[in-house]
């Protein structure tokens, strides 16, 4: 008998099987994840949780006898009142005595419910999404390079000398040029020494000549020649910046109601989760604006009320200021998402357009404009065709710039599809090709 403590063994032996199972049921799980995420509050969006998939999708068929039909015997314990020959009313389920079915094996066809970890949930949630142009377009500065080994070179600093490579070169050269080995010289020396010093016979002469030749060769053909020397080559590779800043810009003037803000918030949350998955470090900057813009914290951003006119250019200016102060574009990937109901003081439109084109867009990796609409008052079809003034302005700018995206969102359920549309692989690929 031996007792072994296995408690310290690494757990998670089923992890691989679990991953296979999720991959197997991927389509089903993904649908379940999307359904589940629709009903979630924003704070929980990034957490794991239960998903339910139809059992049918992961059913394992076997050859078994049907649980219905045919003549059967049920052997049951606990008889209290029956005697032989009694009749029993057939149970409603039709399957006969319950549980007495020997072949059914209790194979429940219930829906299959299981828990996903936060990681798995997000993976499925953001599957097939791609960030446009992840690496900074212009990478500058010493800190953003990393040195990688890239073969060998014939020149370099002594510290980078590759001894093994040098010796390999030297050896092949020595073999090619037939430099005598020390052992061979020693052998020839022995042969020559076998003859007397003054022996002038042909054999003695030949031996001495051979020795002399060998010695001369050894002298002429160096053990290590400068042409043998190799150095390790390092190449500077631009390192993609692993940090991103996300600007949440929102119009908080009176015309934006709670519903619209909620839509915007949902969009920001998705973007945040997404960036968080792709970058080591993600900063979020909240800038709200009415006719003046102001950087605020998250609570204030979403929940405090503000009144005033609407001047969009102010928020772009504020964003520029924050970038200048804290987020140098050469080290930060800058993403911006602007939410608005589309109102803007008409005199401000040209200024906003100019700011966007000339200042903001060149700094950004991606600029998304989400126009949130009201769900309740459903506009008649004709009205929906009418773009808002800000939409028209941005549309003109956006035409020329491929990494700017614009979408309209009216309802909560649109958020995720719109988000997917913006970042789906296909649209990103199209963007790259443009």
């Amino acid at each position: 008998m031996s007792i072994i403590d296995r408690r310290l063994n690494p757990g998670g032996k089923s992890l691989a099987n679990r991953q296979r199972f999720i991959r197997r049921a991927r389509a089903l799980v993904r649908r379940a994840v999307h359904d589940a995420s629709a009903g979630r509050s924003i704070k929980d969006a990034g957490k794991g949780g239960d998903v339910v998939i139809p059992a049918d999708g992961v059913h394992e068929p076997t050859l078994r006898r049907s649980s219905q039909g045919g003549s059967r015997d049920y052997l049951l314990p606990g008889n209290k009142k029956f005697s032989e020959g009694d009749n029993i009313q057939r149970p409603q389920s039709g399957g006969g005595g319950r549980g007495g079915d020997p072949s059914g094996d209790g194979e429940g066809e219930d829906d299959f419910r299981f828990a996903l970890t936060a990681e798995e949930f997000l993976d499925l949630f953001l599957e097939d999404l791609e960030l446009p142009d992840m690496a900074k377009r212009e990478v500058a500065g010493e800190a953003n390079f990393e040195w990688r080994r890239a073969g060998y070179t014939t020149s370099g600093s002594p510290s980078a000398l590759s001894v093994s490579r040098t010796m390999r070169q030297s050896m092949s050269r020595r073999i090619a040029l037939r430099r005598p080995k020390p052992a061979e010289i020693a052998e020839l020396e022995e042969k020559a020494a076998a003859f007397a010093e003054d022996d002038q016979g042909a054999e003695a002469k030949a031996a001495r000549d051979a020795l002399a030749t060998a010695k001369r060769r050894a002298k002429l053909i160096p053990f290590i020649d400068p042409i043998d020397v190799r150095y390790r080559r390092l190449e500077a590779n631009p390192r993609p910046s692993a940090q991103a800043v996300m600007f949440c810009l929102m119009d908080v003037s009176g015309s934006m109601n709670e519903h619209m803000k909620d839509l915007a918030k949902r969009f920001y949350t998705l973007l945040y989760l997404f960036l968080k998955k792709r970058y080591k470090r993600v900063e979020v900057v909240f800038i709200r604006h009415t006719h003046v813009a102001q950087e605020v914290d998250e609570e204030t951003f979403f929940y405090s009320r503000e009144t005033g006119g609407t001047v969009v250019s102010t928020v772009l200016e504020a964003m520029k200021t924050v970038i200048d102060e804290r987020f140098p574009p050469d080290v930060w990937n800058i993403y911006a998402a602007q939410a608005s109901d589309g109102d803007n003081t008409s005199s401000d439109n040209p200024k906003a357009a100019a700011l966007l084109t000339e200042v903001i867009l060149p700094l950004c990796q991606y600029f998304a404009y989400v126009e949130v609409g009201d769900d309740e008052d459903r506009h008649p079809a004709m009205m929906q065709e009418m773009p808002t003034s800000l939409w028209r302005t941005y549309a003109r700018v956006g035409e020329a710039v491929e990494y700017m995206a614009m979408k309209k969102v009216r309802h909560r359920r649109d958020i995720y599809p719109v988000f997917r549309e913006l970042f789906s692989r296909e649209s990103i690929a199209a963007l790259g090709g443009a």
Binding site: M1, S2, I3, I4, D5, R6, R7, G11, G12, S14, A16, N17, R18, R20, F21, I22, R24, D50, V58, H59, E60, P61, T62, L63, R64, R65, S66, G69, G70, S71, R72, D73, Y74, L75, L76, P77, G78, N79, K80, F82, S83, E84, G85, N87, I88, Q89, R90, G96, G97, R98, G99, G100, P102, S103, D105, G106, F112, R113, F114, A115
Partner: protein, 558 residues
């Protein structure tokens, strides 16, 4: 071999007691009968020097002491013989892992085990299902997993139950002896695991997964039901050859030469017979047939079929002896715990804790109880073993009439060892189910002739007229060859489209679950590479139904 109700196959796992209110001890049929054994020998007043432990805590030296005490009773008093035990302490998380791989310490990877894991984990987290106290693996040495959460009393119980009870059954029962290779199984699984992992590297996970899926679907029909043929050695072969010749010489009669020969059999019939003989048909082990004869499979695919088949074969005995295996283990732990208590090695408190757990395990709910889910193998097994012991020691006139061979023979342990060695569930019930046991369980038989307009009929109850019928019916219920559909490969259309023909011989009019059958058949067609037809025929050879499948993405054509 104890299993939880949810694990579909595999190694032994004893179910943890359900929540307390589910298991009132008074309802346990079995516990009523063992009243004499339960008399509490007070250890409080007596000598305390023997006591193994107090309280719930345990450590490794204590496990060692407990095991020695348990083993001593098992081997020396009950005369059992066991494989050496290897006790491994694991956490509940590792227990969940073990569930998912059919209890084995290592297993190949497949999504269905992940599914099993997800299902168990969910049930466990939600509190629908407790974890087993232990898992025991039929191997030499016998591997026994015990959970760290168990109290010292539970560890004692588990060591007695699995370490002695199951272990003895695995080592001695003829079905296991015939079918499983306890020494080799872990090595074989290690081989299977690495083989499949390599195949995945080489051919891709999805390709291998498809083959495993198909093999798993046919797993229940991938076992040899009759003992394998052992290769005869040269000496016996020569001996038999000589015997045959002697026999022929003795019977030689030249007259036979002059007897006119009958008409030759129809050529097509002879050809068909010959063809079937060459293919080894009919064959009920479908996986074996495919592995040996499927025309298009690649060698590695055949090996995958073989692996799945071998492992199914390893678990086959456990399906035939569930009730007995549990009965053996439960009887053993009950006896050992009682003896420990009598010897003053268990405190009264520990003994009561054991009794609580024991009674909830051997509880048999009545048919009209909401908790009823079939006959509890622990309850029936334990009651049978106790009953056999009673008949050996203290038989009534009725027992002498029903079981004359063992009644009053005075050697209960010897008789039980004999039973454990030479029977399986079905034969054990038909041999040893006494009238008293049938009365104790109040068993009755309801027959359903399948006609929905008719009522069900009670056609036997626990009375003089019904005993034999009930015994036969219960025995049949445990008969694995009646539970699994009888499906055989019967022929292959070699001149035509290579169609593979199978037959299901329908028993009692119960057909195959058709949706599942269709899906399995699809897997089968993919493996075979050509069309497949499965005919369901009645006992009079009438065709009742036909399922067909064409290969969709046959294997082997990469």
């Amino acid at each position: 071999m104890a299993r939880k109700t949810t694990t579909s196959k595999g190694a032994a796992a004893k179910p943890k007691a359900k929540p307390r209110e589910n298991a009132p001890a008074v309802e346990s049929v079995a516990s009523k009968k063992n009243a004499p054994a339960q008399k509490l020998v007070s250890t409080l007043t007596g000598d305390e020097s023997n006591i193994l432990f107090k309280g719930a805590d345990w450590d490794f030296p204590l496990i060692d002491r407990i095991y020695r005490a348990v083993e001593d009773i098992g081997l020396n008093e009950m005369g059992m013989s066991i494989y050496p035990n290897q006790i491994e302490v694991i956490t509940s998380e590792q227990m969940l892992d073990a569930y998912a791989s059919t209890g084995m310490p290592l297993f190949y990877k497949h999504w269905s085990f992940g599914k099993e894991f997800a299902r168990n984990e969910q049930a466990y987290r939600k509190g629908y299902q407790g974890l087993a106290y232990e898992i025991v693996i039929n191997s030499d040495p016998c591997i026994l997993y015990i959970m760290e959460e168990n109290s010292a009393t539970m560890q004692t119980l588990v060591l007695a139950h699995a370490g002695v009870g199951h272990n003895h059954f695995f080592k001695n029962n003829y079905v296991f002896k015939q079918w499983t290779d306890a020494e080799g199984i872990l090595d074989y699984i290690a081989f299977a695991k690495s083989y499949l992992a390599k195949a995945e590297d080489k051919y891709g996970i999805t390709e291998v997964e498809r083959v495993i899926d198909a093999a798993h679907a046919l797993q229940s029909h991938g076992v040899h039901r009759s003992p394998r043929k052992r290769m005869a050695d040269l000496r016996t072969e020569q001996m038999r050859e000589k015997q045959r010749r002697d026999h022929g010489e003795q019977l030689f009669n030249d007259l036979w030469r002059t007897v006119p020969k009958g008409k030759k059999a129809d050529k097509s019939v002879v050809d068909a017979d010959r063809r079937r003989a060459i293919l080894g048909l009919p064959e009920e082990n479908i996986l074996y047939f495919l592995e040996k004869t499927a025309p298009r499979l690649l060698p590695w695919q055949r090996e995958v079929l073989r692996i799945v088949r071998q492992i199914a074969q390893y678990f086959y005995p456990q399906r035939q002896t569930k009730m007995m295996n549990e009965g053996c283990a439960t009887f053993t732990h009950h006896r050992i715990m009682n003896r420990l208590h009598e010897k003053g090695m268990l405190t009264d408190g520990a003994f009561l804790e054991f009794l609580h757990s024991h009674t909830s395990v051997v509880m048999q709910p009545n048919y009209d109880d909401p908790r009823y889910s079939g006959i509890n193998p622990y309850a029936l097994g334990f009651a049978m073993m106790q009953d056999i012991e009673r008949i050996c020691v203290n038989p009534t006139g009725e027992d002498r009439a029903a079981l004359p061979a063992i009644a009053g023979n005075g050697d209960p342990y010897g008789t039980l060892r004999e039973v454990w060695a030479n029977y399986r569930d079905e034969s054990c019930i038909s041999q040893f189910m006494s009238p008293k046991l049938i009365r104790d369980f109040s068993l009755f038989r309801v027959s359903d002739d399948g006609d929905p307009s008719e009522d069900l009929r009670v056609d036997a109850i626990h009375d003089e007229r019904g005993y034999a019928r009930i015994r036969r019916a219960l025995s049949r219920q445990y008969d694995i060859s009646r539970r699994d559909p009888d499906i055989q490969v019967v022929d292959v259309d070699l001149v035509g489209d290579r169609k593979l023909m199978l037959q299901h011989r329908v028993l009692d009019g119960v057909m195959l679950a058709s949706e599942d059958a269709q899906r399995v058949l699809q897997h089968l067609a993919n493996l075979w590479g050509y069309p497949v037809v499965l005919t369901e025929i009645s006992q009079n050879d009438e065709s009742l139904a036909e399922h067909t499948a064409d290969p969709f993405r046959p294997f082997g054509t990469v």
